[in-house]
């Protein structure tokens, strides 16, 4: 008998007579109170986890230095590429896309996002428009994320339906960190150690 058959049979045998479980009660919140200022809340939570917050697309010119190599997804809007940095497009379907060492040579990465959750300060990427593949937002030490006002929701449950469930996803809440030493949070391990969030008002 294959391991698969064996395990499934064992499950069935163990569950003989167990019946069905009761339906899960879902009395929890699926949205924040209507009068919550979600943008303020998001900023508060981002700052709490040591991300820098900026307003308006022009701020990118100040965040990225002149001449810095900055990787961007090929579909990043042209109007976001402001300032004197050198924007280098990454196209994963390129026959010879950037490899790990190429990405390691980048000073920063500039992307958009799929959604942002205010209550936990979480920015979600699902490799959709203006986000690129996962490696480009991981290897460079500095990530600049543009968040449009209409992408900001209050609660996690409001954000999930906005994601492409089966695309690769990365949920980001502050820069890379660890709590492994005496359970105190310290920023900066393997992921980008600097996280800048640019909020675009309507």
């Amino acid at each position: 008998m294959s391991a698969r058959e064996d395990i499934l049979n064992r499950m069935r045998r163990s569950l003989e007579g167990a019946g069905e479980a009761a339906e899960a009660p879902r009395e929890y919140r699926r949205a924040l109170a209507g009068d919550t200022e979600v943008v303020e809340l998001l900023i508060d939570r981002l700052v709490d986890y040591k991300a820098q917050v900026h307003h308006g697309i022009e701020s990118i010119a100040d965040i990225l230095d002149e001449g810095q190599p900055v990787v961007v997804p090929a579909d990043l809007p042209q109007e976001w590429r402001v300032g004197e940095a050198i924007f280098i497009e990454d196209d994963p379907l390129d026959p010879e896309p950037m490899d790990a060492d190429d990405l390691d040579a980048m000073d920063a990465v500039l992307t958009g996002c799929a959604a942002a959750v205010a209550v936990s300060g979480t920015i979600m990427l699902d490799t959709g428009a203006a986000q690129g593949r996962r490696a480009i937002t991981l290897v460079p030490d500095h990530h600049v994320i543009v968040v449009r006002r209409d992408q900001i929701v209050g609660h996690l449950a409001e954000a999930l339906p906005r994601l492409s469930a089966t695309s690769p996803q990365t949920w980001i809440s502050g820069p890379s960190a660890t709590s492994d030493i005496e359970l105190q949070r310290v920023e900066g391990v393997h992921g980008p150690r600097r996280l800048d969030v640019v909020i675009l008002d309507d």
Binding site: A135, T170, S176, A177, L183
Partner: protein
């Protein structure tokens, strides 16, 4: 050996001080005699308890979330065959190869074979309890393969040649100074002049692992959740080592206990609120990765998932005990447990320590950990914080009732029952106790009792029965 070796104090791996195979009371006694470790644990668990309470308290629907999580996990257990098959189908359709493993040996063998077929002799690893449980690293080593831990705490433990002592923070028993000494003594490329500043230690780990991440061909991970509806896996982490392992190599092997299933993607709205707040006391962990099979031009091309049983289907058969399969490995129960705080994880003698270990280990390995259900005062702090509402005290008592009993104790308990079941005998026994303890009555207590009472009087005095019992008083009053 690092250039620093010899100039720094050697940190003795605390697991090496506990006699192999020692039962909990004996192992705990050894652990209690390690003042530095106890101080480290008290400090770390105290810190995390406070953080957890604060962020859990921020949500006014915390109890409703716990109720939902508990019921969703119960549903997963009841529908496990159906959900496992659905997960397998969806993941396969998305380009993953799904394997099934009855036990650790099967899972390890599959992982080793895939590694070799990928032309690699080493893997980078995301922290995973399942691979600890099946001792994948040891298996790989015996096969001439090498597994590199990349989580900071796992790295510390691996360098120290120690064993993990906590589910979430395997190096919780070390403080920053000891970690610095481990790095200076054992990390080949430790920066010179490394201090014990946690940021400097994190930086050292970053430098140490970066090349390895960027060049690794194969990664091994576990998963926090496996979503049946979509065939997706979820890894919850902080440092980015998980993202590195899940994104950069060509081949990814994920070893997933069958109890990790969730019915739907939407269920993450419950668990991703509960898990980070319960584990690290954060509103959300820095990074969560979710992937479904393989994606063209993004991440590993060769994606494998090994569904692991290793005793879980037996646990499923116990209608009280099966709730242990709801565990999402947050460690909140360890952090609040007064026993764990004082003994640390190694005393439990199993990869899952603390309250959850005390109910999981004896069920996963029947007959081998009968001491663990007694490693609890049944204070209930674990149940109070468990985000999926596992009634740990209930399962502890249940396992005590299922397990074997020592003959002498059994006789004593039987005798006590026989007396207590007969009011006349009970009254006679109380009278006899008052009579025979008369010599100590004026003093009011006894300082030394013969064994087994000596186990009590080692640290506590024993009060003596009073001259007049309540019963006598009541009879007098009624007259």
């Amino acid at each position: 050996m690092s250039a620093n070796a010899g100039t720094v104090p050697e940190v003795v791996p605390s697991s090496s001080l506990i006699p192999a195979g020692a039962k909990f009371p004996k192992a705990a006694k050894v652990a209690l005699g390690m003042p530095q470790m106890r101080a480290n644990l008290a400090h770390a668990t105290g810190t995390i308890r406070e953080k957890r309470a604060k962020v859990a308290g921020e949500l006014d629907d915390w109890e409703q979330l716990r109720d939902a999580a508990s019921a969703i996990k119960a549903d997963v257990q009841h529908r496990m065959p159906e959900l496992a098959i659905e997960f397998e189908r969806k993941a396969t359709e998305a380009g993953a190869t799904v394997h099934w493993a009855r036990d650790g040996v099967e899972a390890n063998a599959i992982a080793a074979r895939i590694t070799r077929e990928a032309g690699a002799d080493e893997v980078v690893k995301v922290k995973s309890m399942a691979t600890q449980e099946i001792e994948l690293n040891e298996f790989f080593e015996a096969q001439g393969l090498r597994a590199w831990e990349t989580d900071l705490a796992e790295l510390i433990v691996q360098l120290a040649e120690d064993k993990p002592s906590h589910i979430l923070v395997p190096a919780i028993h070390y403080n920053r100074t000891e970690i610095r000494d481990i790095f200076r003594g054992k990390m080949i490329d430790a920066p010179t002049g490394l201090t014990d500043d946690p940021a400097a230690l994190a930086e050292a780990a970053r430098l140490h692992l970066r090349k390895r991440f960027l060049s690794a061909k194969v990664a091994v991970s576990g998963a926090n959740f496996a979503v049946a509806e979509t065939g997706s896996l979820v890894v919850v982490e902080s440092e980015g080592n998980g993202r590195m392992c899940l994104t950069m190599p060509e081949t990814l092997i994920s070893i997933v206990g069958i109890e990790k299933l969730l019915p739907t993607f939407t269920d993450l709205e419950v668990f991703m609120q509960l898990l980070p707040r319960s584990s690290t006391g954060e509103r959300m962990n820095p990074y969560t990765s979710i992937w479904t099979g393989a994606t063209d031009g993004d991440g590993p091309k060769d994606v494998h998932i090994i569904l692991l049983d290793n005793g879980r289907t037996d646990v499923l058969a116990d209608e009280v005990g099966r709730q242990a399969l709801s565990c999402i490995r947050c460690s909140a129960c360890l952090n609040v447990c007064p026993v764990y705080e004082r003994t640390g994880g190694h005393a439990y003698g199993h990869v899952y320590p603390g309250p959850i270990g005390a109910i999981l280990a004896p069920q996963l390995e029947p007959g081998r950990h009968d001491d663990l259900p007694y490693a609890s005062s049944l204070c209930g702090a674990c149940y109070e914080v468990c985000p999926v509402k596992i009634n740990i005290p209930e399962v502890l008592v249940h396992l005590r009732q299922e397990g074997p009993h020592q003959a002498g104790e059994k006789a004593a308990m039987g005798a006590a029952k026989a007396v207590m079941a007969r009011p006349k005998l009970w009254r006679a026994a109380l009278g006899a106790a008052r009579f025979f303890t008369r010599p100590w009555r004026n003093k009011g207590y006894m300082r030394r009792l013969p064994w087994p009472g000596s186990k009590w009087t080692v640290s506590r005095d024993m009060p003596m029965p009073p001259q007049e019992s309540f019963r006598d008083w009541w009879k007098e009053r009624e007259r």
